[in-house]
Symmetry: C2
Subunit: 371 residues, 2 copies
């Protein structure tokens, strides 16, 4: 059983994970601490401070859930939804669909506001749906990873002109790459992941909850079924009580801490601009090759760039050639875009000029090769 | 924000995490792969094979859940329990209590069979409770981490003389250190963790499900609320479908794979014997110091050894001295044993003669020092 494992060195330009800086990997080699060690508690405090900066929030309850981004989605919805209540879910892609699915699983009567995948929301429709419903919770995916579309979470707060609302934003593919402005945009709950804009390995889900969200959670009729993702229990460990809940994935948190330090050293604004610039270079290159982007310029994500597969080109063959001849992973389309788009992640360390140049050259070669 | 983080090099002899071998840490530095990469699929297949060996099972559905041991417990209970059904939960420690709590959260009417913490179960009481109930699920903690007691999961199968039953065993603190014999003992569902007997960092929960357990899950009236821990969805990714579910924590799985390879290189029986031998050395040393073990010899865990705090000795002061003067972490008692016992983990790489000798010497010194 001493089979060795030597995976190839991929350039990860799919929807995530993205490649991780050596500093972040090295951080995982720091001595392992127990989850009740006073030095580990310091590390937790630092992570909370760093996450608040990156989420652009003062929320006290800001920490990592010990699971991947999907666990973050489940944490937000399982805690915020009471059995039988209406929830407005905006859907224009796979992850919006997933939010609708999870909201229903957790007992919501889901009021969907749909746009076609890859098309912007009509905010008047969102407002009308909210007004006509009894919903107190409204959800939107900020960066729709399935389509490359940026949705306007900053417009959700206008719903409060109708009545009070708990606003939930999925920032899985935006945090660390795009401004999310949790406080500025009056978002009450948000979750993300470690392996995209943040630049750490996959395994953790940063979450943040406003006081308004916590008040709704405290007033639940019953605790959420989930114990592992119960925000109030988790906060007894991350907060000042330090009450044991589960054994923390300490090395993952070391890595996340280092990745967050790197973000703040670069500066949030500089980091966003870097993602914007490299996405722009990529788009210019794509268009110079005669290819087309899926999403209109004003809605494009910088972190996840979607390119239409040209007519007559075999999507799977191109991706396979990129992987096998160039060690480059890009993402396929799925759902209505299966075979129709490529999804190109330029996130964290991989949002850089040389990676873009290499990808453009390799993509051109892979498309040109008829094998 | 470029504050450096240099935690002390602890010797982790609490209830877990335990120290990790350099080979396992190095495995995390292999190039990161995407969760849909064919090479990563091979790694997943290997992990499944290796886990089957360590669980001593042929169960097809054997994989890691992307969370810590608590996520493993939730996975088993959330999937196996249908709303309103009776479940027999054997409780003689904190983790038995937790199973009762989670079973209730997931909709069970819990039939508790209690023994005092640290006392063996009366199996006749378990049989009687099962007979009088309508329960189809019975749960027991194999290695009760709160007391250091080994419970007789091998006796559960006699319940089938009464009627068919789904047997659930918590093997969080036994897997990789004690025989668990999932198939031999006819256990239908079990969960463990990565950071104890397995010797990997914390962050993953190995789970295994028998065909009998899967049949019950397939016949649920409704899917479990949890999407993140839905066994049928997870198995579509781990099984031959390879359907995307969530982004795998790949580096954690690399580490687990390496730790499992080390286990099989050592050999399961040799590893169990090593844990037994080093626990025996520790107990002999403790008794030579005039201290007492909490648990009777026939029920003692080798992985987690509980020592009574002698009269007149300040539990917290001794632990603090071990941590601050010797960089040794041991665990405190909790619940009814708060301040009454020390919990000493000798697991994985830390089950070795020199660590035991050092701990005994340091403990003797810490007790003797009246500061």
């Amino acid at each position: 059983m001493s089979r060795s494992f030597h995976p190839p060195q991929r350039i990860l330009l799919g929807p995530g994970p993205s490649n991780v800086e050596p500093r972040v990997l090295q951080a995982m080699l720091a001595p392992l601490l127990g989850h009740m060690d006073p030095v580990y508690f310091q590390c937790m405090d630092e992570i909370q401070d760093l996450l608040r900066s990156v989420f652009e929030t003062g929320n006290r309850v800001t920490f990592t859930v010990s699971g991947t981004g999907g666990a973050g989605m489940e944490t937000c919805l399982a805690n915020l939804i009471d059995e039988g209540e209406e929830v407005v879910v905006c859907v224009n892609g796979f992850f919006g669909e997933r939010m609708a699915e999870l909201a229903a699983r957790w007992g919501a009567t889901v009021i969907r506001v749909d746009s076609d995948w890859g098309q912007p929301f009509d905010m008047q429709k969102v407002r009308d749906a909210f007004r006509k419903s009894s919903a107190r919770v409204v959800t939107m995916v900020h960066a729709e990873t399935s389509t490359g579309m940026r949705n306007p979470i900053e417009e959700l707060k206008s719903l409060r002109d109708v009545r009070d609302a708990i606003l939930v934003a999925d920032t899985v593919t935006s945090l660390g790459a795009h401004p999310v402005g949790i406080d500025r945009n009056s978002i009450d709950a948000s979750y993300s992941c470690s392996q995209k804009g943040i630049g750490a390995p996959p395994g953790l889900a940063p979450v943040t909850f406003s006081e308004r969200a916590l008040e709704k959670i405290r007033n639940r009729k019953a605790p959420p079924r989930t114990w592992y993702l119960d925000v109030q229990l988790l906060n007894k460990y991350w907060g000042s009580d330090r009450a044991y809940h589960h054994t923390a994935p300490a090395l993952m948190n070391y890595a996340l801490r280092e990745a967050l330090c790197i973000i703040l050293e670069e500066g949030l604004e500089a980091r966003w601009q870097r993602h914007e610039r490299n996405s722009g270079t990529f788009v210019a290159g794509i268009e110079a090759m005669g290819l087309e982007m899926l999403v209109a310029p004003e809605y494009r994500l910088w972190s996840l760039n979607t390119v239409r597969v040209p007519d007559g080109v075999d999507d799977a063959r191109v991706r396979s050639r990129l992987l096998n001849s160039h060690n480059i992973e890009i993402g396929s389309g799925f759902g209505v875009f299966k075979g129709k788009i490529w999804r190109v992640g330029l996130m964290g360390a991989n949002s850089n000029q040389n990676t873009v140049l290499l990808l453009l050259a390799a993509l051109k070669s892979a498309i040109a090769t008829r094998a």
